[in-house]
Amino acid sequence: MILIILACLQAILLVAAAPLVSGSARWMRAKFQTRKGPPILQDYYDISKLFKRQDLHTKDSSFVHRLMPPLFIGVMMLIFMGIPVVTRFSPIPLLGDVILIIYLMVLPRLFFALSAIDTGSSYAGVGGIRELLIGVLVEPAMLLALFVTILATGTTNVGEMGMMVGSFAAVNPVAVALAGVAFACACYMELGKLPYDLAEAEQELQEGPLSEYSGPSLAYCKIALYMKQIVVVSLLVAIFIPFGSATELTVPAMALGLVLYLAKVVVIFFICTIFENVVARVRFKLFGHQTWTVVGIAALALVFFVLGI
């Protein structure tokens, strides 16, 4: 029962905190560029303003365009309910299967691309296809990294994988660490940050498909995209950096787990911001070369694992 409440709290916290995380990232980015920048709460202001605006749809759009924003939010909440955040184990173990999580991530991506085509705008459509292609290029690398980790830990449950990695019980820690690096690279590509994307510019991959959204629907899309960033980072934390999370359901352990989780997320987003500020945007067509590098790292992890290093 406590676990179910915990899962619901996680999902609610995700929705509530998503704009805060993106707001802090924007703030940090501004500081790096020695600008004053928007306040940390700016994204909350933006969203509350959007909720007051009119909802517009193009004349050719159908149910897909209307259903996408709530569906994106709903799926992200569902995934987050299964990911261990403050605890070492998954709050709802039935939702913690890593293959289920990867395939659930596909559903919003599919809707995202379809809704872009649905508008009838060629401009949004191109963005939609690019978003899909990122999935094509990132997913195999992600699953190869996970394959090594699954073999090393002997389970496909995110919580149990974290448990094994966290207690150094996994076979071949070097291979697992390398798989973690590959997975982290793949996650970074999923985040939609420079050098692959410039989410704020509203003309690049991730927000291009949103060009026909407005009002409450656009607010939903924005929240959902922030939520996706947190979900991806949390997945990485839960599997490869679970150290310090609560292994039992006591108040001190969970408080420590929460603090450490927040610290890890802040550090990861800080590192991401550094990356974002030192690189230029790459051409879309070069994206493929870089994902091959990630596949290469994951393949190296596999070799290490097979050789037993």
């Binding site: 749809h57 004349k59 897909v64 299967d97 395939y103 599919l110």
Partner: protein, 676 residues
């Protein structure tokens, strides 16, 4: 068994009625379809019975003293009967309306060949004798050939010829394999093969020949070239039967030979590795080529190559499980394969029917000329959409469940196996992940370009919803997909029963309450839970948004033109089918280079043969060298002969068929003489 007999009798009467009434086309269509529905329903019932209570084989004396006509419905053939006849019932109902398109193009003979095709498929599944198996297999190939060339234009005749040639290349390989077995046992009955212990070399020869031969029928890479040409050429409901049903007979053959007929001889590890590698290559290449298509039916046909690949991954894992002597892995692998087989039949059938409905109204297969159909044909569009979600393996639909089991069985096998097994499965897992991502691209294209956005042609503008009968068919199959996905925890038990009866091993416990489990890794998911939470979590924001909207002064407006960078939108700005192909082809260039190479020179095919054989050669012990080399030479010889396919020398293939028939007759006579 009585039901099965009635079904065949009804098919025969239906075939006769269809052709006799050919002058009165609408009567022929109606009578033929009614008999078809009845026949398929009877066979469906027979299959259901056979799946749960294995029926004793029935032998009938025939004029051929060497070939007793033995019929056997075991759980495996029962499942296949159910899959094919379920699709058959729906296809016949669909045909009542759909065939109106073909008025004046020989509905009578179309009906007759479809009856023969259905009956032959059913008889192949239950024949328990080499001679009759091969006879019905041939009837199935010939009757489906006539269904492929029904349009009588140059394109379909060419496609039909390639189909006929490839079907017979496979046929000859299967025939040789069966004759090798019967020369060892001295009998034409499958029951004698089951108890015979073949030497590992003979068993390997039989396996490789049957795998390649039945693989030809299944359309696996590198024998897939006929499939995307032949299936779309037939009327849509027959394409559905071919893609959903007929190619499954190839899988049935592989499973039957390796697990059933070679049961007493044991399984080699490299067989499984071979099947997994070919399966992985098939699924990636199949879906990559599907994305490049703009013809909606060809896209779906290529996608069948992909799904055959996924099924082969399961079969290969089961083989490895048997070879490693781990019943849980074998059971999981075969369960995944058989469940995916059913799932693919359902959603691919549904997608072909949906595509048929679109063609029925717009008379074009080119997706670039469609668009905006979601408003004109809402029911068809919604069903096609759900079918697309199912084939993209989106949880909690049925495609996801079988792919999850495929992943789980492969992971379990990789954990249990040595370094080589692990590397092969790493390759397979990455291929399956890539396939999953590409399938999403493919079906965003198929659904998005055909049904969403603005209509791109006059025909698409004028389209209206199809008649009730056709709607009913797609709704029925879509409902099956949803039920099999959400109800998976209650259904997979049957598949465990079937797979354990095929493997003769205890089946793993894969379902507990509302959860699906992999007992080997302890992984668990629950599709009903995911479905409930998904609906709840999507409804919640929907309601909140509706509340916000209702409190606004300005109501939602859905009459705006899309923003086109400030320009007035024109038709040629819209997304086209080609917009998808180009970026994918940039990123996955090597895959398309393979196709170009394959098309350019058939020599590549023979190289693949040689590589397969040399791989097999290495895996074999030294003692088997001599025998395998002989086969290697034989297969190389065969593959050299195969180079003629793209050389265009058709006469050689006619010669093959004649030689095959003569050889069959000779062996029959010799065997008959032995019996005397």
């Amino acid at each position: 068994m009585l039901l099965f007999g009635i079904s065949i009798a009804l098919s025969v009467i239906g075939a006769a009625a269809s052709i006799l009434l050919k002058r009165a086309e609408s009567a022929s269509r109606l009578v033929g379809s009614l008999f078809g529905v009845a026949a398929a329903a009877c066979a469906l019932a027979a299959g259901c019975l056979g799946m749960f209570t294995p029926i004793e084989p029935i032998s009938v004396a025939t004029p051929f003293f060497f070939a007793t006509f033995t019929l056997l419905i075991n759980p495996l053939s029962g499942l296949l009967l159910v899959v094919i006849n379920l699709l058959g019932v729906v296809a016949w109902i669909y045909g009542i309306e759909y065939l109106k398109e073909y008025t004046g193009k020989g509905i009578g003979s179309l009906g007759m060949f479809m009856h023969i095709f259905m009956a032959a498929m059913c008889l192949v599944l239950v024949s328990d004798n080499v001679f009759w198996f091969l006879v019905f297999f041939e009837i199935m190939a010939i009757s489906s050939y006539f269904l492929v060339i029904v349009q009588q234009d140059e394109k379909s005749v060419k496609a039909g010829f390639l189909y006929l040639v490839m079907a017979h290349v496979g046929y000859i390989m299967i025939m040789i394999a069966f004759f090798v077995m019967s020369s060892q046992t001295g009998s034409f009955d499958f029951s004698s093969f089951r108890v015979a212990e073949f030497s590992p070399a003979i068993a390997s020869v039989v396996f490789v020949l049957c795998f390649l031969g039945f693989g030809c029928k299944a359309g696996m890479v590198p024998f897939h070239s006929w499939l995307p040409l032949a299936h779309p050429a037939a009327p849509s409901h027959i394409s559905a039967l071919m893609s959903g049903g007929m190619i499954k007979i190839g899988i049935f053959g592989i499973v039957k030979v390796t697990f059933d007929l070679l049961a007493a001889s044991g399984v080699e590890l490299w067989w499984g590795l071979l099947v997994v590698v070919i399966g992985a290559v098939s699924c990636v290449l199949g879906i990559a080529y599907a994305i490049a298509e703009r013809d909606i039916k060809r896209l779906l046909a290529y996608c069948s190559v992909e799904n055959i690949g996924i099924i082969l991954l399961g079969v290969g894992t089961a083989l490895i499980g048997v070879a490693l002597e781990i019943p849980a892995i074998a059971g999981l692998g075969l369960l995944a394969a058989l469940f995916h087989l059913l799932n693919h039949a359902l959603y691919k059938g549904m997608l072909f029917f949906g595509a048929g409905s679109v063609i029925y109204r717009t008379h074009t297969r080119d997706m670039s000329k469609l668009g905006g159909l979601v408003r004109a044909m809402p029911v068809t569009a919604l069903c096609f959409f759900l079918g697309a979600l199912a084939i993209s393996a989106i949880p909690p639909l049925n495609g996801f469940v079988s792919e999850w089991f495929t992943y789980q069985s492969m992971l379990s096998a990789a954990l249990a196996g040595g370094p080589l097994v692990r590397i092969v499965f790493a390759f397979a897992v990455v291929s399956l992940a890539l396939t999953g991502a590409l399938t999403v691209v493919c079906f965003v294209k198929a659904f998005g370009i055909s049904f969403l956005g603005a209509a791109r042609s006059e025909k698409a503008h004028k389209a209206t919803e199809v008649p009730f009968v056709m709607k009913l068919c797609v709704i029925l199959l879509t409902a099956c997909c949803i039920c099999l996905g959400i109800g998976a925890p209650w259904v997979v038990g049957f598949f465990v029963t079937i797979s354990s009866s095929v493997l003769l091993l205890p089946g793993p416990e894969v379902a507990a309450g509302i959860t699906l489990v992999n007992p080997d890794l302890g992984s668990a998911i629950s599709t009903p839970l995911v479905a409930v939470l998904l609906i709840a979590l999507i409804t919640l924001p929907l309601i909140i948004r509706a509340v916000f909207k209702s409190s606004q002064r300005q109501k939602p407006d859905a009459s705006k033109e899309p923003w086109q960078c400030g320009y007035q939108p024109t038709d040629d700005m819209a997304m086209r089918a080609a917009s998808f192909g180009a970026p994918v082809q940039v990123f996955l260039k090597p895959l398309y280079t393979i196709r170009a190479a394959l098309a350019a020179q058939a020599a590549t095919v023979s190289q693949l043969f040689q590589k397969t054989v040399s791989g097999a050669d290495k895996a074999q012990g030294l003692g088997d060298r001599y025998l395998v080399d002989t086969v290697a030479q034989g297969v190389t010889w065969l593959s050299k002969k195969m180079q003629g396919i793209e050389g265009g020398n058709f006469r050689i293939y006619v010669l093959y068929i004649v030689v095959a028939l003569v050889a069959l007759l000779c062996i029959a006579i010799i065997a008959g003489g032995g019996a005397l």
